[in-house]
């Protein structure tokens, strides 16, 4: 059959292409990382080479079945092009952002590659992202304890010695004991996987040692004796970083064309924004769009920017969001007066695209970190109860708008009280973290997992049918039941019960959660360690 022959040849090409582009992306990441770490200005030739590499991917990825990767590359290419055209030297944080986006693209490629290899017939929505986080350890002597502790948290850990292993296994994170491994040795190995994040261990906790670690591109630094829980927290933080959604900026400006220009400029940098030209629409915009930052034109008819800022601050929900004025006002005293009333900073118009992007990125990043710290549970790093409810509401309105099904899953660890009573609260916390890590690793990137309280978790699965949700949770249930929990010398197994409900069956967030909760209780009552579906009995 000619059609089959074509498909077979294209599939073979796609495989070759993925491998080549994987290497290309790694080279680009290494370039971006090197430029970001540099003390001196970045020459245009270096940026031109980055742009060319991105251009090739942008033009080819879609043809080989990676449209999202192509789109990402296109946006990054446009960003580099903007920087080249404005001839403003890119700052280190800007290049780091580029590196992180490249690293995100690499994961995109890797996820689609593993998805197609693992289960060609299956719904790709379910298999993508389903792979334990890989951690390579480089240390001398007894690493058994560290390996075992981290494996206990659900990570796939190995000590790698041969260069070949680095290439084939491709760890996500590398932990290097710099006290015992020569720099030349670990640097050569790590160079094989530039996408991997680095955590350095050292005997020396001085400022100089930390600075050196920063310069070696480390994202984490710990001293001996090693605090394993702290290391695990850092790993959790590192591996959840690439899952970030784009920053969101609400632009309030009555000059629609200028606002649109800002929107496009930010879009090139991967920042999503929404434009509001009527000040009276701002509260609705905040509720619907939930931005990380608001840009407000200070001179608008009907309502000034400072009045609008004060009005926004009436609401406790928006206290944490930076409000930045856009203004032609360069008089420092009048700026100070405006800031005294409300608002956090001034950007003076006209502003270059690069300056706008840099200012917005830095503030949005800070705002996001703050919100996440507030909205996340300290023990598991998962989203807290109120935030997850907000996410369910967002998914429900998406279903109403676009007809896409989403599912909510309520999960509760079985006989948790007895685990606490038998092994102590420390072990109880460990089991909670174990399940939190498993959920994070096994669900897709677009999914959200929250800790609902005590030993209860909620997962929100956008664009997912009821059957697929059940299948995914069922697989996680099986894995969890098989995991060995270690408490001192005792080894035991924990299980969970889960209830799944769909946005197709319940139109209200509260009712949806209650339905998932009822299904979860049904699972408990029918013997625990199982997944039950909430059926809408009223229809």
């Amino acid at each position: 059959m000619q059609g089959e022959e074509v498909q077979r040849r294209l599939a073979a090409l796609r495989e070759q292409y993925a491998e080549r582009i994987g290497n290309d992306l790694q080279t680009l990441m290494a370039q971006a990382r090197e430029l970001a770490a540099r003390q001196r200005a970045v020459e245009p030739e270096a940026l031109e080479s980055l742009r060319h590499g991105l251009h090739r991917i942008a033009g080819s990825a879609g043809t080989f079945g990676y449209p999202a990767l192509g789109q990402e590359a296109r946006e990054m290419e446009l960003w580099v092009q903007t920087v080249l055209e404005t001839a403003v030297a890119p700052t280190s944080p800007m290049l780091t952002t580029l590196h992180d986006r490249l690293s995100g693209s690499y994961r995109l490629l890797e996820n689609s590659a593993t998805a197609s290899v693992a289960e060609p017939q299956a719904d790709y929505e379910l298999v993508s992202g389903e792979r334990a986080i890989r951690i390579a350890i480089m240390a001398e002597g007894d690493t058994h304890g560290l390996l075992q502790s981290l494996s206990g948290f659900g990570y796939d850990c190995r000590c790698l010695t041969e260069i070949e292993e680095w290439r084939s296994w491709r760890p996500d994170v590398v932990i290097i004991d710099t006290a015992h491994v020569e720099p030349a040795v670990w640097q050569a190995s790590v160079a094989e996987v530039p996408s991997a994040m680095r955590v350095l261990l050292s005997d020396d906790g001085s400022f100089d040692a930390r600075l050196q670690a920063v310069r070696a591109g480390a994202q984490g630094f710990f001293t001996h004796p090693l605090d394993v829980p702290a290391l695990e927290r850092r790993l959790r933080h590192l591996v959840s970083l690439p899952q970030q959604d784009p920053y969101r900026v609400l632009i309030v400006d009555d000059d629609v064309e200028l606002a649109e220009h800002f929107r496009l400029t930010l879009k090139v940098a991967g920042i999503e924004s929404r434009v509001i030209d009527q000040p009276s629409d701002v509260l609705r915009g905040l509720r619907e769009f939930v931005p990380d930052l608001v840009l407000i034109d200070i001179n608008m008819p009907g309502c000034s920017g400072t009045e609008l800022a004060r009005l926004i601050r009436f609401d406790d929900d928006w206290l944490r969001i930076p409000l930045i004025y856009l203004s032609a006002e360069s008089d420092a005293e009048r700026q100070a007066q405006a800031l005294a009333q409300a608002g956090d900073d001034f950007l003076v118009k006209p502003i270059s695209d690069v300056a706008l992007t840099a200012a917005v990125t830095a503030r949005a990043q800070r705002s996001r970190q703050l919100s996440q710290a507030l909205a996340r549970d300290g023990l598991t790093g998962l989203i807290k109860h109120p935030a997850i409810k907000e996410l369910i509401e967002i998914e429900q309105s998406r279903t109403q708008r676009s007809g896409a099904e989403a599912c909510v899953v309520m999960i509760d660890i079985d006989r948790f009280k007895s685990i606490n009573d038998t092994y102590g609260h420390g072990t109880g916390d460990y089991v909670i973290r174990l399940l939190a890590n498993l959920l994070r690793q096994r669900l897709r990137r677009v999914d959200h997992v929250g800790r609902y309280g005590g030993e209860e978790f909620v997962a929100v699965l956008p664009a997912c049918s009821l059957d697929n949700a059940c299948e995914a949770i069922e697989r996680i249930r099986e894995s969890f039941a098989q995991m060995e929990c270690v408490a001192g010398k005792a080894v035991f197994h924990a299980t969970f019960s889960a209830g799944v409900a769909s946005t197709f069956d319940w139109a209200d967030a509260g009712a949806l959660l209650e339905a998932a909760d009822r299904a979860m209780y049904e699972a408990k009552q029918s013997g625990r360690n199982r997944v039950c579906v909430a059926r809408d009995t009223s229809v």
Partner: protein, 129 residues
């Protein structure tokens, strides 16, 4: 009307070269020759006399538009129609390529299952077809 049969594809990326070959030969039933740079395209076009040249815009060395200019200077290649292939999307650039004498522009990434049909459609719309 002359049918489109022989296509010279000029592209520096070997993966794209190969996927286009499958798209045009296997799916489209055309005869394809490939070059990876502008200079060899000038020689190959003069010697092989394709019906159409599918020319990548951005190549190291001589780029697509310059190659088109040189094709127009050579007597043996002056009349051969050219379609550009590019990953750029700005409408002004597309107009520019048409203005300098390209039949049309095919946007990358292309779908290998429909590329041949796309070329035929452009071909038949033009005076060449």
């Amino acid at each position: 009307m002359q049918a489109l049969h022989r296509v010279l594809h000029v592209e520096d990326d070997p993966s794209i070269q190969e996927v286009a070959r499958i798209a045009l030969e296997v799916v489209g039933g055309m005869e394809v020759a490939s070059c990876d740079n502008g200079q060899s395209a000038l020689d190959k076009a003069a010697e092989w006399q394709p019906d159409l040249i599918l020319l990548d815009v951005m190549m190291p060395g001589i780029d697509g538009p310059t190659t088109l200019g040189k094709l127009r200077e050579q007597a043996e290649t002056r009349e051969i129609p050219v379609i550009f292939m590019t990953a750029k999307v700005q409408p002004s650039e597309l107009d520019h390529y048409r203005a300098i004498g390209a039949l049309d522009v095919v946007i990358k990434p292309f779908d290998p299952m429909t590329l041949a049909a796309q070329l035929r459609e452009i071909w038949e719309r033009s005076d060449a077809g």
